[in-house]
């Protein structure tokens, strides 16, 4: 009953997901002044993270100032800010080591961590994520056990109310959360998350598991996995879904926070609009083939060799909002559709059950609303039609058998 009441409430409180790409000159001028002030404040602070200057690290990795400025232009555009913000964005990138970050992992595969630490050569996005003041990160740090716990407690005390809490992975809630415990004391994920969230400035849920439950929450969801926004109340939450979340979008969110001291504008699913305000389909390099009706019919066929549209192979670009088709992965090297596999809608809620099948929606096996056997949408529809047809056939046959006869008279 409460579920139904909640569902009704959601229907009437659903937020508008419209993107406002241009808010007018006056707004941006005021924003510029505010951001400038904020950067000056950060400059006067001591850095917690890497002591080395960003420019030195970049040149050590083989990036010139020019490469950095190109990255700055792209990032400014990605954040939907006008061109005159570029110098500020560059300064903000240099100030990123002033923001303490605690990164925790729950039911996940560490894929989002992998996404930003592992590439053939670190890209500028990765380097910038490397220099943030990462106070605690189970996968990357040296200490373990009680030492690691002490590190976490220290970080929490020192930066109380200031740190950004990055959460990767879903939170199991079934049977009081015993499906996931962390640390030598066997603290459950939900306990640790609740206490860490209480002292955080804001929470960034990274990857689809942390945002919507993702793969752990896929049917039948034995561990009762949920995303952060379903278990934490009263804190600003930013969702960066996708599997893995694009490092460019992680940098974008942190940069926005450094720049303005606020979280970016979010859509109805708490995803930053600068990244999730675009539909993959509308910026897809294969879109022309979609409109032309040129589809890959099976893997490796003539259409596949000609980069035809992957819609019939189950591409979910038309119902997925993300900026992959614009900024791609690994500094615009490639992305799934670019290498010939359709989008599986990994940045949408319930993606594993409702998007990630290699067929168009009409052929997808989905659960009937009442549960039960999985049927494809079209099989279900043809079932309704067949039932109608059988009913009609029976009635028609019976009518023929009964013959024409009306009220109060005999058959003639």
């Amino acid at each position: 009953m409460t579920d139904r009441a909640e569902a009704v409430k959601r229907v009437f409180t659903a937020k508008n997901s419209r993107v406002d790409t241009n808010r007018g000159e006056r707004y941006y001028k005021e924003l510029y002044v505010r951001c400038k002030k904020r950067i000056e404040e950060l400059k006067s602070m001591e850095s917690f993270g890497s002591k080395a200057e960003l420019s030195e690290i970049l040149s050590d990795e083989g990036y010139s100032r020019r490469d950095f400025m190109k990255w700055t232009s792209a990032t400014t555009a990605m954040l939907m800010l006008p061109g005159f913000f570029e110098p500020l964005v560059a300064e903000a990138a240099e100030m990123m080591n002033r923001i303490p970050v605690i990164w925790v992992e729950y039911q996940d595969c560490a894929g989002n961590t992998e996404a930003f630490i592992r590439s053939d050569g670190p890209k500028i996005d990765d380097i910038i994520l490397d220099i943030i003041s990462l106070e605690f990160h189970e996968t990357l740090m040296a200490p373990a056990g009680f030492q690691a716990e002490r590190q976490l407690d220290d970080a929490r005390e020192t930066f109380k109310g200031k740190y950004l809490l990055f959460v990767e992975g879903a939170i199991p809630l079934a049977e009081n959360g015993i499906y996931g415990t962390t640390g030598p004391a066997g603290e459950t994920f939900i306990e640790q998350l609740t206490s860490l969230a209480a002292d955080a400035a804001a929470i960034v849920a990274v990857g689809t598991c942390a945002t919507f439950g993702g793969v752990p929450a896929a049917s039948p969801n034995p561990t009762g996995a949920k995303g952060v926004m379903d278990v934490i109340n009263g804190k600003p939450i930013i969702n960066i879904p996708a599997c893995p979340a694009n490092p460019a979008n992680m940098v974008g969110v942190i940069l926005h926070y450094v720049l303005t001291g606020q979280i970016p504008e979010l859509d109805s699913l708490l995803r930053p609009k600068f990244a999730f305000g675009y539909r993959i389909h509308d910026n897809c390099e294969r879109r022309a083939h979609f409109d032309a009706g040129e589809f890959v019919e099976e893997w490796g066929d003539e259409g596949a060799k000609n980069n035809f549209c992957l819609y019939k192979m189950g591409c979910k670009g038309p119902m997925t909002f993300n900026n992959c088709s614009i900024i791609r992965y690994n500094e615009s090297v490639s992305w799934p559709v670019g290498v010939g596999h359709g989008c599986i809608g990994c940045s949408e809620p319930d993606f594993w059950d409702k998007y990630a099948y290699e067929r168009p929606m009409a052929d997808a096996n989905i659960k009937a609303p009442a549960g039960g056997v999985e049927k494809s949408v079209d099989e279900f529809g043809l079932g309704i039609l067949t039932a109608t047809g059988i009913g009609i056939a029976i009635h028609a046959a019976a009518s023929l058998f009964a013959g024409k006869k009306s009220d109060g008279e005999d058959a003639s």
Binding site: G277, F290, P349, G381, L382, H395
Partner: protein, 224 residues
Amino acid sequence: MTATGRVIHWINAICILTAVITGLYIAHPYYQTLIADPAVDKYVMAWNRWIHFIGAIILDVTLIVIAYLYFFSRFEKAYKKLIPTGKNVKEFFEVIFNLLTFNRRKRFDSTHRDSFNVVYFAILHLLLVWMLFTGLQLYVQGLESGLSSIGKWWPALLHNATDWTIAATGGTLMDVRISHHTTMWWIVSWVVFHIYYQIWRTIYWQEGDIAIVFGGSKYVEKRR
């Protein structure tokens, strides 16, 4: 049936048929285009979508007209037969009994629209209204820039009017799509029974019911 009613009927029939044919292609392109043709000449999916949208927009307009006629028609105001008064409920079941007894029992006035007919059509109208909202929600997903050729108000209006369908169908954009597609099958089944029932009535009642939608009237023998 008034002339307006007949015009609306055939516009709806053609639009529903068009929307089903093109909609099935959009959901799962069931014929291939020739690979040798350059993409610019084909535009097959785009035409299918264009025809689907035009059909849908015409349906949306006739739906508004129908909604108006439900209450303000100068002839038979349909809403009067929808109110579950004792008389209407009795008539509704009498018509069903008539169908189930193969015309052995016919105890209602068949010279005018009966309660069963009005309810059955109201079901179609509700299905079409649902298609209107879910369809426009699918449509506005392509206007994510917040801009359109007729101004910013259009996507904003569509979002405000249709975003609730996402939550109502299950919370994801895919649920809206699945619902839009499944509802199509309900409408097709509705049409199949509708056609059967009109033919059955014509044969068994012997009042020329099939002529209603062409000429506007039927022939009812005066009983003693």
